[in-house]
Symmetry: C2
Subunit: 252 residues, 2 copies
């Protein structure tokens, strides 16, 4: 008997960014899987609990999945991630088998949109491919932090007929601005790679904790506001213990 | 007295992709601007009317803005778009001045997410910059057709540590796959540029009318399914009179 799994995007931090489809998915679920991630655990868990309090129908169960520790010391980034994803698949397979009855269902709540730098879909794909348990899964899209950033700054990410690239801080630091692309959204940048961009003709639109009461926005020529962002970022991170931020680099 | 304008993303076609914030924005507005666009007018207008019937609070007014005709024969694509955008700003400025009382408010309903290949924000920016009328505007993000495509195919758009680029069919046809990018989302492709991609190692994930009862999904190696997509696209377009589609190209 097939077990049914739903991957539900819940937006980047504002509970009102939930879609009606996500609300319906939450209302119809009686089992929620929450993936816990180290330092942001407390704040984000609180936010997620408020979403469940508001929309889920009791009685429901919450199963917390401890994220396997990733080897961040490994120089082989992709291999380390692949190993970590395998262990995550072990964990997911086990928890779905143990917690979801055959024929039953459970929902994964995912911050932002499950399609951007989130591994839940890939892990479920791997669990399905292994075939040890029969599952099917569907995805409910969510408002990504990228969409929240654009709305907060009242930006279009795209200029007429031109592309936008979404990439990581690591890649930006290693490769600089991609050739032929004047609009680059950067996620997962713990090292402030924007400070290394020769930016005479580049503007940055930065946001942290988007959609939450702690939201911070800074925009301007990267040469003029980079220091301000570095300081604001460090200060907020110290105060809260974690940070989630994203930015657009736009060449003039 | 400032006039207040809200740009509300309403998702790509499924009324349940509306966010709670968009629903609240619609409930609190008493004036809606609808931009009409040629051939898709009837279907999309019907869908939008259903959204208003469900969420807007009577009495409310709907003001249809006829889109200025764009010179599609011009070889100078960017100039033609700039001229068209100027005329659009004239139109918006006039209609906001005539329909929104000073101190009052109105809402623009935008398909998908206003941050992706939609000109409403840029036009309002221009109207604001002109300074002929005092307006302020805010943006409510929406589920883009890109997010809907990914969810329908149960895809992550990003692979571990790698970028994704969002671009246009025109640019893909002119420049091919961008260097160093294995994941490319293509929008606004009326000419099936994917057929010109030498695709031995490329998969395509295509979707049309996403989130509507007419949704069509095709996925596979681009060399094997390109013809099937071309035929399905032409047939659907003939039957309905318009098409909205988007796809991901992914190199293996």
């Amino acid at each position: 008997m097939t077990r049914h799994v739903r991957v539900v995007g819940i937006g980047a931090g504002d509970p009102d960014d939930l879609t009606l489809k996500a609300v319906a998915a939450i209302r119809s679920a009686d089992l929620f899987f929450l993936l816990e991630k180290g330092s942001e655990k407390q704040d984000l868990a609180g936010l997620r609990r408020r979403i469940l309090n508001r929309h889920a129908r009791p009685p429901y169960r919450v199963v917390e999945i401890d994220d396997p520790v990733r080897d961040r010391t490994s120089p082989a980034y992709v291999d380390a991630v692949a190993d970590w994803r395998r262990r995550r698949a072990d964990r997911y397979e086990q928890v779905i088998r143990d917690e979801v009855p055959p024929g039953g269902s459970g929902a994964f709540l995912v911050w932002g949109d499950p399609a951007l730098y989130d591994s839940t879909i890939a892990v479920l794909h791997e669990v399905t491919a292994r075939g040890a348990i029969a599952i099917d899964y569907t995805v409910v899209p969510g408002i990504s932090s990228v969409a929240s950033l654009a709305a907060a700054h009242r930006l279009s990410l795209t200029r007429v007929g031109r592309p936008v690239q979404i990439t990581t801080g690591r890649r930006l630091a290693e490769e600089g601005m991609p050739p032929g692309v004047g609009d680059v959204v950067v996620m997962l940048d713990a090292r402030c790679a924007f400070t290394e961009i020769a930016g005479d003709r580049t503007d940055i639109f930065w946001g942290a904790y988007l959609g939450t009461p702690d939201e911070i926005l800074v925009a301007g020529p990267v040469t003029q506001v980079a220091d301000q962002i570095v300081v604001a970022r460090a200060e907020a991170r110290r105060r809260k213990g974690w940070i989630m931020d994203v930015y657009l680099l736009r060449t003039r």
